[in-house]
């Protein structure tokens, strides 16, 4: 085992997949000699060369469009969108093209590709370096959407995403890149399957659903309230699409209460889907209304520090929400 940061886990995953399969290449802005603006691809250009770690023009839609074409030809592209906030020019390529290719060609053409994007706030990024974009893409049949929350899962989910025969949106909680640390095995291949959620903390009183950075805070909050006698179960959703209904339902069937935490806006956010699943399929087991703790319905996260803090759900706020729900 080696302790490392989340971004180290991701980088190891990229390194191993580049090494394993010569069809794999990385393409994006500044991913080459610069190693990415967050240094996610640091060292990979030197190791694999400019044909495998490709600096793109400053043009997001064609980063994805080129990836789609290369995938159709048999390659395994990994497209980096520098910040999730910049993915919208590529929205048409992702939604109209990558997601629909398999269906619209009756299975003749598929798009095995990974689209990586650092998302989320709390890093002084203001409106356009802080956004959460998962709800847009989790809405689209044909895409898979994953969000790792630990170095182990960053590595394992990435490697599975590369091997997946479909387009996978891989969202990286950028605040957690170096903040979240954890152990990763040295002597075994780390593969985390796309699809299953995981129970990261077992408990009986209520269930908190979270992913990415919010999962990290939720675990902290759960430990804090445990000292007050509240036994929270924490579910790390990890794969937002397709959603793991079984794990979600099994947990709430046991605990009877559910809180969903994400930093994306409330309205038509990812939490609404979890709430709907619970109300439709576990209504008889619910002992309290399903609660959501999310970012506010404003256009995006402000830059100024106190305004940013007002936006971001954090450990304190999650702990308060757990206490309220436990007391219901």
């Amino acid at each position: 085992m080696t302790e490392m940061t989340l971004i180290d886990g991701l980088r190891q995953g990229m390194d191993e997949e580049l090494e394993r399969d010569e069809r794999v290449f990385i393409v994006g802005e500044d991913v080459g000699p610069r190693g990415g603006v967050f240094r996610a691809t640091q060292g990979l250009y030197d190791k694999y060369g400019e044909d495998r770690v490709v600096d793109s023009p400053l043009a997001e839609l064609s980063i994805v469009g080129i990836g789609i074409g290369a995938a159709l030809y048999g390659m395994r592209p990994v497209c980096e969108i520098q910040f999730a906030d910049f993915i919208y020019p590529a929205f048409n390529q992702i939604v109209s093209e990558a997601a629909r290719m398999c269906y619209r060609s009756n299975g003749d053409w598929t798009v095995p590709m990974v689209i990586r994007a650092p998302y989320g706030g709390g890093i002084g990024g203001g409106l356009y370096h802080s956004q959460s974009i998962e709800a847009f893409f989790a809405h689209v049949p044909g895409l898979k959407v994953v969000v790792p929350s630990t170095p182990y899962h960053a590595k394992g989910l990435f490697k599975s995403a590369v091997r997946d025969p479909n387009p996978v949106i891989y969202l990286e909680p950028k605040k957690g890149y170096r903040l979240i640390r954890g152990e990763v095995p040295d002597d075994e291949e780390v593969l985390v399957p796309i699809g299953p959620a995981r129970i990261s903390r077992e408990g009986d009183d209520l269930t908190v659903f979270a992913y990415g950075m919010m999962h990290h805070y939720t675990l902290e909050a759960a430990e804090r309230v445990a000292q007050e006698g509240i036994d929270a179960e924490v579910v790390d959703l990890m794969t937002l699409k397709p959603v793991d209904r079984d794990t979600i339902l099994a947990s709430v069937t046991k605990t009877g209460k559910a809180l969903i935490v994400h930093e994306d806006n409330l309205t038509v956010g990812y939490g609404a889907e979890i709430a709907a699943i619970l109300v439709e399929e576990a209504f008889a087991y619910l002992d309290a209304p399903v609660r959501r703790l999310t970012g506010p319905d404003i256009p995006a996260m402000p830059y100024s520090h106190p305004l940013q803090d007002w936006f971001m759900p954090d450990t304190d706020r999650i702990a308060d929400a757990i206490r309220e729900l436990a007391a219901y």
Partner: protein, 335 residues
């Protein structure tokens, strides 16, 4: 032979006759589809009438089945040249089970034909250009001896998507041919409202690649320009914009009525420049085609088209259960 005009082209008699046959077959199929629509038997048709010479000439300059194609919706004659059959087309037009473009999912003329390396495209215009650049990128990475042709209307070259794709191909000297079928109308909007340049090929100047404009009513001229572009691409010389000047001799689609925006005289003048007739006349004048052979060829095309209509009419619709898959690659059914 005396009294005959020799054709100054690098094409065999056989190739010239094939070229003409494909144009005729596409035209007869196209016309028959309009009738099906007017009879209320199909929901939609989008026509290649007037574009046939450009499309047939272009594809015949490629290695069919080896090279890759990222087409757009007006490319019926291109598809016929690639071996897409009238029966397959009619299955698609009628939304019948197993039609090879999409299994009845997409509107007609939204091509995909895996066996001929024709990738699937959508309706938002211009999206196929960056796929072609991506295929070119992969061809170069692998060191393969193939090229990719992508086609587009002149109106769609206004899309940022198209510029980004051409830019990529030019930066990396990718083996891509950006074919533009310029009929000077994007539904109703004329070329001068799309761009400030006279020729789409002039856009090449700002992107760092060669751009040529060729008479798209002349299949042999298109074949020549396209052969040159293909040779450049295959030998590592990079991409080319090949603009073919064509006429859209029909409304945009079966849902369009062009009388509100297009003078009738213009259309009449275009009919006098029908690319299929031009090709016929050249071959007759050169003695490559005889009047008897022409009659036989027209009959053969008509027969094939009628057989296709009959076949597709009798064919079953997809089962409703087919609508729910394959959303993901794992859902594919091996046949």
């Amino acid at each position: 032979m005396e009294g005959q005009e020799e054709l100054q082209v690098d094409l065999s008699t056989e190739n010239l006759l094939e070229m003409y046959w494909l144009m005729v077959l596409s035209r007869r199929l196209d016309e028959r589809t309009w009738i099906l629509h007017r009879q209320g038997k199909i929901a939609f048709h989008i026509s290649a009438i007037g574009h046939e010479a450009a499309q047939v000439g272009a594809v015949m300059a490629l290695r069919r089945g080896e090279d890759w194609i990222a087409p757009y919706y007006r490319d019926l004659a291109m598809m016929i040249t690639l071996g897409f059959t009238p029966k397959e087309f009619m299955l698609g037009v009628m939304g019948k089970k197993g039609e090879p473009n999409s299994g009845g999912r997409q509107m007609p003329s939204h091509w995909s034909l895996k066996r001929m390396n024709v990738i699937s495209h959508s309706s938002p215009v211009g999206t196929q250009a960056s796929h072609a650049a991506g295929i070119g990128f992969a061809i170069k990475m692998r060191g393969d001896d193939t090229v990719v042709l992508t086609s587009i209307g002149e109106g769609s070259t206004s899309q940022g998507e198209w510029y980004e794709a051409v830019n990529w191909a030019a930066i990396h000297q990718l083996p891509v041919i950006f074919m533009v079928e310029n009929n000077r109308y994007a539904i109703s909007v004329r070329q001068e409202k799309q761009m400030a340049v006279d020729k789409v090929a002039d856009k090449a100047l700002g992107l760092g690649l060669p751009g040529v404009t060729v008479d798209g009513l002349d299949a042999m001229a298109v074949h020549g320009a396209m052969s040159e572009a293909a040779e450049r691409a295959r030998s590592g010389g990079g991409p080319t914009i090949v603009e073919t000047m064509v006429n859209r001799m029909t409304p945009h689609s079966s849902d369009d009525d062009d009388r509100s925006y297009r003078p009738r005289e213009e259309l009449e003048a275009q009919k006098a420049q029908d690319p299929v007739h031009l090709q016929r006349d050249k071959l007759l004048a050169a003695g490559i085609l005889t009047e008897e052979a022409e009659i036989e060829l027209q009959e053969r095309a008509k027969r094939k088209v009628e057989q296709a209509v009959e076949f597709a009419t009798e064919a079953p619709y997809p089962d409703i259960s087919e609508a729910s898959y394959p959303v993901y690659a794992e859902d594919r059914v091996d046949d």
